[in-house]
Symmetry: C2
Subunit: 625 residues, 2 copies
């Protein structure tokens, strides 16, 4: 079995966890299993068509044959690379001759466009003098990073080294150009840092790791104009909050974490820990980040507008990637909690149920104006969500010398290598709709090791039954529960997580969420959409804090979801007519009783357009004056 | 007496109101009187120094002597022009030899830079081939418009025609270049439209009016790339909401209103009415508009973030300018209500009490990070707020054939020409701190005419006493009360407007203001600033809806203000520690009683930095479930 892992920390000296490959996990559930099937059957092929239809793949072929009629857009190459990465993971997970054929076609096109000196960036194919000059605007290094990731994934999925050799030639070229003895400069859009570290892991060539470190250390010297949006206002180690373009900032943190995993540079980890804590004050309940349209950037602490949430799909994807690396460093469940939040909410909202429509921006309230698109002129998000979903099986487990770490839950059968032996691990569960998970452990032969079972932070009550005996140690939400024993073939563990709809409130300084509640059930954030609540404007709902919420699985609705229902009130905002401000005493406030239905946030905008809202007006609790 | 009017509707066929010059009104109050004195003594001279210090004035001199070492910024000329306009109004209002000398110096510099063909824009002084090519980005037409306004104000203030002749030469040049028989194109930044109409009013040359109409009608044809931010996505008459860059959109509406005033084109007025109603759903309680940083643009209806309010000072100034023109068309008090709201709040916040520090952006809540600056690289706001304040005496009154219209209140003595006769009108009042206004009417000789007394929209109770007899007709807030009689020298009217601190709420779809109240007293919007409330975080306050608000005039504080005090509660947001989201049942909610002090919003950030907030958390009224 070849090992198609997402981040190869197998030999990383500062990693506590080692990867389990994408192809070691077979998802058999209707939630992720279905998503990945749609990905293979619909998303990967339709994205391929878009990439061809918009000339992005043809650009490479044109360069190969000297045709100068290129379509000039600075990030187009990267869209193709991200698709290759997604397709490679998909192929590793389940063989598909159609995807294999498309991949070969695209890999050939890419490789054919490489210059003799290793340079590869279609935009400057015919303009040698402009290369590596405008690192602020030009996405040369960014595209190179995505090529490296694509090449590694393709190699790990297929064993074919054609694209990897292309990547190596480009990496060597970049290493020749940049460095302490060469050109200075930092990429305007980070990405290459983590890709170079993975190239180092894949090839063992230390110069790639050194180059990654070089690029990281070039920041904050004004080479990018000192721009805060480009995270050039300070050296990386002096950053004290998450600022700037969200995708760039998080990709940079991914690279820094990867460098830490290989070098153990404590000053890097301290910075990362600080930045992560900062980000935890700038993250939507959905796990979306980067609240500002302006600069696609992080806002200040608690700056989390709902209608004008930017929360780019790419930033959510990046959020998963960074938290995964922090998890590899620490084996701490707080990072997995973020990963789970993002994959079920802020990232998943970026792709439609039919697998061919995408959100770039992910608002938390809307009047029905946002709708998913088939493609974007700046098409970073569609292949990014595709590569996250395609690699998701690789996020389910890790190993350490002590045992197996269970991060995520879904019905599945996995084949995990632990200290040279194989352990088959199956999950039976209706997660995320139910909190009961039945694990079956089938070691090759009876063996002593630990299972580290993640207890999600949302889970306030949990019962663990090991071989029909309740496990008596205190179990903390937001932690890994260690169960060490002799494991025999067929041993079972039941994890019973109580999963109830819960009203969530925000820190008081999230001014837009004052006296508002969100409904969360397990890892899933809910919203109200007009189509399920046609008798009132969902923006007008008032949820009493003592509401009794009911839940109901509806298999026919939105590919099968648990709907949350309840009795609440609505004001009638129409009674305000054209007035924007009124004296409090003149405010129209008659309330009407209604029954409402809430659906998972990720599933909104899959039917007809209409108002949607996550944070619902509430009344203040009784202990107020 | 020369007539230095702001907008000369004296002969405009579709104007219901005619202007009263800036120099006909002498403000003797401590509010505006003091502001205008600071303007003359501090603001105008220090802005002159900034304009010299940053090379903006020198640019013109450099062009005159062929020095090519220009400082290249596309809007720099306009900053100088706006200053000239402000200085001219200031000089008209009260003679000041220092300002006169500066003005002559600057006017000489500007005029000397004009090209032989009339062209005048320092940026392209040496680049004839680039002129009038890039109307999207280049501010040639915008700067020309500001020159016209400056030249007219200078002429009206001094009778000197040097700058007016420069303006005429430039206007003629533009009329030669553009038009049905010439080049097509619309200005990327509207401004010239209203300036051309004023040039028409000043010179009588119809081609300027035609050119203004031409520029307006060029929009929506894709000449500006169809960009919604540039208001080029639709023809003007098809616009159905206020969108795009706020200053540009409102300046465009100013121009369209001016064109209507001269032409009576009903389709224009219908559009303006529709856009004004749209803007009334997109305006802060302060009168600030343009809520988005992104594109400095209008948001959707009810999109009014508080911390991330953009609400550019220039947009507030523009808002006054447009509403003034709409008032000239209609004589309807709803426009004056907006003017009053803006001048006392969202515009006035743009300049410090010391008259030399400015806000570009005017947030309604802040953590203490925003502070007024002495100048900006893009320095549109400082001279814009200066020209508004300098011209403010011209906004106090209008006339019609029926009588005198009183728009604003302040202790003052004015000399108003009505149907060829002089009426002296004095106001005695402590407005905006008290609602009692004593008017004295001194006609040249006994005469029959009407006084139209504005009853502000905020005023729920009003008593009018004419010559010691109560006026018995029903008085509606937000209207002009007509009092027609024979007026004798020394007749008095007392207007007694009840002025109490009031809690205001927002339309429910302003999601960020849910269960929040603002304190308003008369025309003044209040805020809480940390320095007055050092014992708690002002963001944590909870105002009970039945609060008793107390008021107290404090002459020593912030140049004299009414402070509003009350007893309220605070939550302790620190108890949330690093947590951003919590289940409702775990929310820390102990309340502590506090006494708070609120100050006028316009006066914030004049002392030490700290948190500030306008919309205060409240609890919902008792008629909630």
């Amino acid at each position: 079995m070849s090992k198609c892992v997402v981040v190869d920390t197998t030999k990383s000296p500062w990693a506590r966890l080692r990867p389990v490959p994408v192809n070691a996990v077979k998802l058999r559930d209707s939630f992720w299993g279905n998503r990945i099937e749609v990905l293979r059957k619909v998303t990967i092929p339709t994205q391929y068509e878009e990439l061809e239809g918009t000339g992005r793949i043809e650009n490479f072929r044109k360069v190969a044959r000297g045709d100068k009629d290129i379509i000039w857009r600075i990030a187009d190459d990267s869209d193709v690379y991200k698709w290759v990465e997604a397709a490679a993971f998909t192929l590793a997970y389940e063989y598909d001759s159609n995807i294999e054929r498309m991949l070969e076609e695209v890999v050939d096109a890419i490789s054919s466009a490489q210059d003799e000196d290793g340079y590869l960036f279609t935009y400057y194919a015919y303009d040698k003098r402009s290369r590596w000059k405008d690192l602020i605007r030009m996405h040369e290094l960014y595209c190179a990073g995505h090529l490296f990731q694509a090449a590694i994934a393709y190699y790990r999925a297929t064993g074919r080294d054609k694209l990897l050799n292309t990547a190596i030639r480009l990496a060597d070229h970049i290493a020749d150009v940049f460095g302490p003895d060469g050109q200075s400069g930092a990429p305007g859009h980070p990405e290459i840092e983590m890709a170079l570290v993975e190239m180092y892991r894949q090839t063992g060539r230390e110069k790639y790791l050194e180059l990654a470190r070089f690029f990281l250390d070039q920041r904050g010297k004004g080479l990018l104009g000192g721009d805060i949006v480009l995270i050039d206002h300070k050296p990386f180690r002096e950053l004290d909050s998450m600022v700037g373009h969200a995708v760039r900032a998080i990709y940079l943190c991914c690279g820094a974490t990867d460098i830490y995993l290989e070098t153990g540079d404590e000053s890097l980890y301290n910075t990362l820990e600080r930045l992560w804590r900062s980000m935890m004050k700038r993250m939507y309940i959905t796990g979306g980040v980067g609240s500002r349209y302006h600069g696609e950037a992080f806002g200040e602490d608690y700056e989390l507008p709902n209608v004008r949430a930017y929360a780019e799909t790419c930033a959510a994807v990046a959020n998963v990637m960074w938290n995964w690396r922090m998890l590899m460093v620490t084996a701490e469940a707080r990072f997995t909690d973020v990963i789970e939040t993002v994959i079920y909410n802020g990232a998943l909202s970026g792709i439609s149920l039919d697998g061919r429509h995408y959100f770039y921006v992910n608002p938390l309230a809307d009047r029905g104006r946002h709708s998913r698109q088939e493609w974007f002129r700046c098409a970073c998000c569609p292949p990014n969500i595709a590569r996250l979903l395609a690699s998701l099986p690789g996020y389910f487990y890790s190993t350490s010398s002590k045992g197996i770490w269970i991060h995520l839950y879904a019905s599945s059968t996995s084949t995990i290598e632990l200290n040279g032996r194989i352990v088959e691990l199956t999950q039976e569960t209706k997660y995320p709709w139910e909190g009961r998970v039945k694990l079956k452990v089938n070691p090759e032969k009876t063996d002593t090791f630990s299972l580290f079972i993640r207890i999600p932070e949302w889970c306030e009550e949990v019962k663990i039954i090991v071989e029909k005996k309740e496990f008596k140690r205190k179990v903390l939400p937001g932690s890994y529960l260690k169960i060490e024993r002799d494991w025999h073939y067929g041993d079972t563990i039941e994890v019973l997580m109580s999963m109830k709809p819960t009203l969530i409130v925000s820190h008081p300084h999230v001014l837009g969420n004052t006296d508002r509640v969100a409904i969360k059930r397990g890892p899933i954030v809910y919203c109200l959409e007009h189509i399920d609540n046609p008798d009132f404007d969902v923006w007008d709902i008032v949820i009493p804090p003592d509401i009794q919420l009911k839940e109901e699985f509806r298999s026919e609705l939105l590919n099968g979801i648990v709907v949350v229902r309840g009795r609440a009130f609505v004001i009638d905002s129409k009674r305000w007519e054209n007035r924007l401000y009124l004296p409090l005493k003149n405010m129209p406030l008659e309330l009407r009783k209604v029954e409402f239905r809430a659906i998972p946030y990720y599933a909104w905008a899959n039917r007809e357009p209409g108002p949607m809202i996550v944070w619902l007006r509430s009344i203040v609790p009784k202990n107020n004056p």
